[in-house]
């Protein structure tokens, strides 16, 4: 890539600095703008009747009494939306063979999961809408439900979509080398384990929320949306309502956490938008916590049988596993529910040299809430399989878990190369990350301490993970398969007359600090005070077209577009300045909001003077000069399907063998996300991610009864990590910039969540090993730990 010199290699005040976020004050003063904070004239509130059973046939649905309830404006059923909303199907062509049935926003004829919307009441207040929901009479004939994913393919299992003949949604096998031959080799040790990963969900503190207005005069739909991908939602509303895309405006203001939860097509949100069109008045829908647990996408839910063979010196000879995952009764639209399984196959073993690799995943339908992409898609499973087996193998041959990694990690000087599954890898630093980790945690001392405590009957364990993270996805992730999901992003940077700079970008903010890093990049590249840079994101009408923020792409892709746009604006500024100052552009630079002589020279004119000359007194410029003080640039990753990052993490845990409780005593993470734009924000992304990963490892699980009733529907039942249980987390960085961009930034948002579960699981097993016990089921609840120890729970 050509272009001006790398601005951030010269002294700059922002890129690489821990600059505080400018938007923090607003949130700290209670001046956030979350969807439920907004009101609109004549707004009505939606509440839903949802299926009380996992599988059933709608015999009758009587809404007459509900319509007569106080405050009710309308009652709309699934059947009422036939012809209003075009059904959607969650398949993508690059996931060959993936199948799913057409879905409507609310059930028509049959219900296929508990919580599926059946009818919607629109009333003056949410309370009145809920009162009326209680007056809807729904008569259901129960149908047998397929809930257990491991039995969903049995010949006698109820088939959820009879037209498919079975509950198989998708299957894929990767087969590299010759696993069977390798497993028959001489002098090898084989470990085989069964892993189970429970269902989790995102539990964003702000639940899903939407406020939709429709103006029939202009056929204009305006959607306030708490989410991550405004342009994707614009396409979806337009396509399924038969509207022009430009007549749909999707706006995301403040978003109270998302983590992949708020990036899918939810029936209740589509139904609320349909109601706004039907009624010609604003409709608000805000999920309550019960609805969040029951209808936000769930994730994970894998059962894996895996084995690894290692040679006498600890080298991996073969890795082999079978995975099954249940996704609910449909594949989620439009990202599909096969991506997680696909990632598990792609990522398992990717940090290591694995000569023989065979993996199969089966994705099955079941009568439970839909499963789809949530923070660190597939990563926790992939890392736990490989690093779990690796530490078991190390124990089996009597080798230290760090040493076995040293022998198997891809060498830092061996890139570019591919993983066993064929993933292109470059600019990674597994060896450096592991050594830095070992040093940071003072490993030798920890082991001594562990031995000493063991003598006192205290069972501590230390576990590791070496990992990769998929970031900065290219069009190969979704676009290639026909999904309406942009892989490129754009930024427009504009100099205004007062000397202020405005950035508008298609990536979005959900708390990561996207807006802050865009400010840093533009201020740093352009040479202005960061306080003079204002950012707009999350509005399909006013930002360039792009994908939004997901798969850890905001900084790497959105940031690069902002950098390119700021560079282009700087060139425009210098061209104008050269004419005004009668010199050459390359003799000038911009610093502190003024055009200066290049090489740190004196200020010649302020940017405001320059802009006022252009905007107000164009007569002072030569008439053949057509100055522009606004530039737009777009960026996409071209040379790689994804830009991988790597990290190494370790957990120290203490297991109470009497109660089964696991306490995480310490956690360390070394992360290489390329160039760090703001170390404070990156550290906090890693910490927040690690805590989410610890939650998955120890506490969080969506539990169902056999007949498909969700049992964990309050925050007292579904346990999330709270402050008291969490340790301080030590974070360090290695910076290996990606060569795919000038900025060199990769993503950092998901590493913690992807890696922490494996490290915690390995640590628990390290603690249990001398007791002859082990556990490979997450979450590792006290009851399961006691069961592993051969003791019944109390």
């Amino acid at each position: 890539m050509s272009g001006p010199k790398l601005s951030f290699d010269q002294p700059n005040r922002y890129i690489g600095q821990p600059v505080p976020r400018a938007d923090a004050q607003r949130l700290l003063m209670g001046r956030g703008r979350f969807v439920d904070d907004m009101q609109a004239p004549r707004m009505v509130h939606a509440a839903f009747l949802r299926s009380p059973v996992a599988h059933g046939r709608i015999v009758s649905l009587d809404v007459a009494a509900a319509r007569r309830m106080p405050g009710v404006v309308a009652v709309i059923t699934g059947a009422d939306l036939v012809g209003v909303v075009e059904p959607y199907v969650g398949v993508l062509s690059h996931l060959a063979g993936l199948r799913s049935a057409p879905q409507m926003p609310m059930a028509v004829g049959r219900v296929r999961w508990q919580g599926e919307p059946v009818a919607m009441v629109l009333a003056q207040s949410r309370a009145e809408a809920e009162d009326a929901v209680a007056e809807i009479h729904l008569d259901l004939e129960d149908l047998p439900a397929a809930t257990d994913m491991e039995r969903a393919l049995d010949p006698d299992a109820p088939v959820i979509h009879p037209e498919f003949g079975s509950n198989l949604a998708w299957t894929r096998t990767v087969n590299v080398g010759d696993v069977d031959a390798a497993l028959k080799g001489q002098d090898i040790t084989i470990v085989e384990r069964e892993f189970r990963f429970g269902r989790h969900t995102g539990v964003t503190l702000e639940a899903r929320a939407t406020l939709v207005e429709y103006d029939p005069a202009e056929d204009q739909l305006t959607v306030l949306y708490s989410g991550q991908a405004p342009h994707m939602m614009q396409f979806i509303f337009a396509k399924h309502f038969g509207m022009l895309e430009e007549n749909v405006r999707v706006i995301s203001q403040d978003v109270g956490g998302s983590f992949g939860i708020k990036i899918h097509t939810y029936g209740d949100e589509i139904a609320a938008a349909a109601a706004a069109r039907m009624l010609g008045r604003p409709v608000k829908f805000v999920a309550d916590r019960f609805e969040s647990f029951m209808t936000d996408i769930h994730a994970r839910d894998h059962a894996v049988r895996g084995r690894m063979a290692v040679g006498r010196a600890g080298h991996i000879v073969a890795l082999d596993f079978d995975d099954v995952t249940g996704i609910g009764p449909y594949s989620m639209y439009p990202r599909t529910s096969a991506i997680e399984a696909n990632q598990v196959l792609n990522l398992t073993g990717a940090p290591y040299v694995v000569p023989n690799y065979r993996a199969t995943s089966k994705v099955v339908f079941q009568n439970k809430t839909l499963m789809c992409q949530y923070r660190a898609v597939g990563h926790p499973i992939a890392m736990a399989i490989c690093d779990g087996l690796l530490e078991e193998a190390a124990a089996a041959i009597g080798m230290d878990p760090v040493e076995i990694r040293r022998r198997n990690l891809m060498r830092d000087d061996s890139y570019p190369r591919t993983s066993a599954s064929g993933m292109k890898l470059d600019d990674l630093s597994h060896q450096k990350a592991l050594e830095k980790l070992v040093e940071m945690m003072d490993y030798a001392r920890l082991r001594e301490n562990q031995a000493r405590l063991r003598q006192q009957g205290i069972h501590r364990g230390i576990g590791f993970v070496s990992m990769v993270e998929v970031t900065n996805p290219s069009p190969m992730f979704y676009g290639i398969g026909g999904a309406p999901i942009a892989s490129q992003d754009g930024a427009t940077v504009r100099l205004d007359a007062g000397g202020g700079v405005h950035v508008s970008s298609s990536v979005t903010e959900q708390g990561q600090g996207t807006n802050a890093i865009l400010q840093q990049i533009v201020a740093g590249v352009l040479g202005v005070d960061i306080a003079r840079v204002k950012v707009t994101t999350g509005d399909t009408r006013t930002t360039p077209y792009g994908g939004g923020t997901w798969a850890s792409r905001g900084a790497g892709i959105g940031g690069e577009a902002a950098l390119l746009a700021a560079q282009a604006l700087k060139e425009q500024v210098l061209d104008v300045a050269a004419v005004i100052l009668q010199t050459q552009a390359d003799k000038l630079d911009v610093a502190d909001g003024s055009v200066v002589d290049a090489g740190g020279g004196a200020a010649r004119m302020t940017l405001s003077d320059l802009a006022r000359t252009v905007y107000y007194r164009g007569n002072e410029l030569p008439s053949d000069m057509k100055p522009e003080l606004v530039a737009t640039r777009h960026y996409r990753v071209t040379d790689m399907p994804f830009v991988f990052t790597n990290g190494a993490m370790a957990a120290e845990v203490e297991v109470d063998v009497e109660t089964g409780f696991v306490r995480v005593v310490n956690f360390w993470a070394v992360e290489d996300c390329g160039r760090v734009i703001n170390p404070r924000l990156v550290d906090e992304q890693v910490r927040g991610g690690v805590v989410q990963g610890i939650g998955g490892a120890l506490y969080e699980e969506c539990l169902y009864s056999e007949d498909g009733q969700l049992l964990t529907t309050t925050m007292a039942d579904y346990l999330v990590p709270m402050a008291a249980e969490m340790p301080d987390i030590h974070v360090a960085h290695i910076e290996t910039p990606t060569k795919t961009s000038i900025l060199g930034a990769k993503g950092a948002g998901e590493a913690g969540t992807g890696g922490a579960p494996a490290a915690v699981m390995n640590a628990v097993n390290d603690a249990l090993r001398p007791l002859g016990a082990s556990i490979f089921q997450m979450p590792m609840t006290p009851a399961r730990v006691l069961a592993a120890l051969g003791r019944a729970g109390h």
Binding site: P20, R21, A24, Q25, L27, L28, M29, G30, R31, G32, F34, D36, D37, Q39, P70, A127, G202, V203, T204, L205, E206, A207, D254, V255, G256, G257, F259, D288, R289, Q510, G511, Q512, G513, R680, L681, E684, R687, G688, G689, V690, V691, Q692, T714, M715, A716, V720, M722, A723, A724, M726, D728, I729, G752
Partner: protein, 159 residues
């Protein structure tokens, strides 16, 4: 029509009189009737702490109290916290430590943290973590929040 009652209370220093349905909870009243949307709703069953605010000097779950129960009370929400003093210092420390990401838990966190600091709590990380354990945050991992509280207690943060 649902049963209603008249209430008079003081909110952020202003006297407010309103007729409210008896079933309306305090946080919905503040948010929807008064437009004080800084207090958030995360669970409506008293677990997440997003609705935490100050009623007559005690931190209270706004979702577990009815508006009619607040008749005659003095309430301070995040919008009513002063810009100076302890609240100002805590905001500065939250900014400096990046102790908020999405900011949805933040108003409740501030209320709980101010309760701890105001009661003369020590810069003891374990005690702070225990005290904040009624406030759920999905984004930060809590460490930066604990750091910010310590900064205020140890005099490192200024409004």
């Amino acid at each position: 029509m649902p049963e209603t009652r008249d209430i008079t209370l003081t909110v952020n220093g202003e006297t407010v009189t309103a007729t409210v349905p008896v079933r309306l909870n305090l946080v919905d009243f503040l948010r929807n009737s008064l437009g004080l949307t800084g207090s958030h709703v995360g669970c409506e069953h008293g677990v997440c702490g997003a609705c935490t605010l100050d009623v007559d000097g005690a931190t209270t779950r706004g979702c577990l109290m009815l508006a009619v129960q607040a008749d005659g009370c003095t309430i301070t929400t995040v919008e009513g916290l002063p810009a100076h003093g302890m609240a100002g210092a805590l905001r500065a420390a939250f900014t400096e430590r990046n102790a908020l990401q999405c900011g949805f838990c933040t108003p409740g966190m501030l209320a709980s943290a101010l309760e701890y600091i105001g009661a003369g709590g020590a810069a003891d990380r374990t005690a702070i973590r225990e005290h904040l354990s009624g406030n759920y945050c999905r984004c930060t991992g809590y460490q930066s929040i604990v750091d910010a509280v310590c900064d205020v207690i140890e005099g490192r943060a200024r409004a």
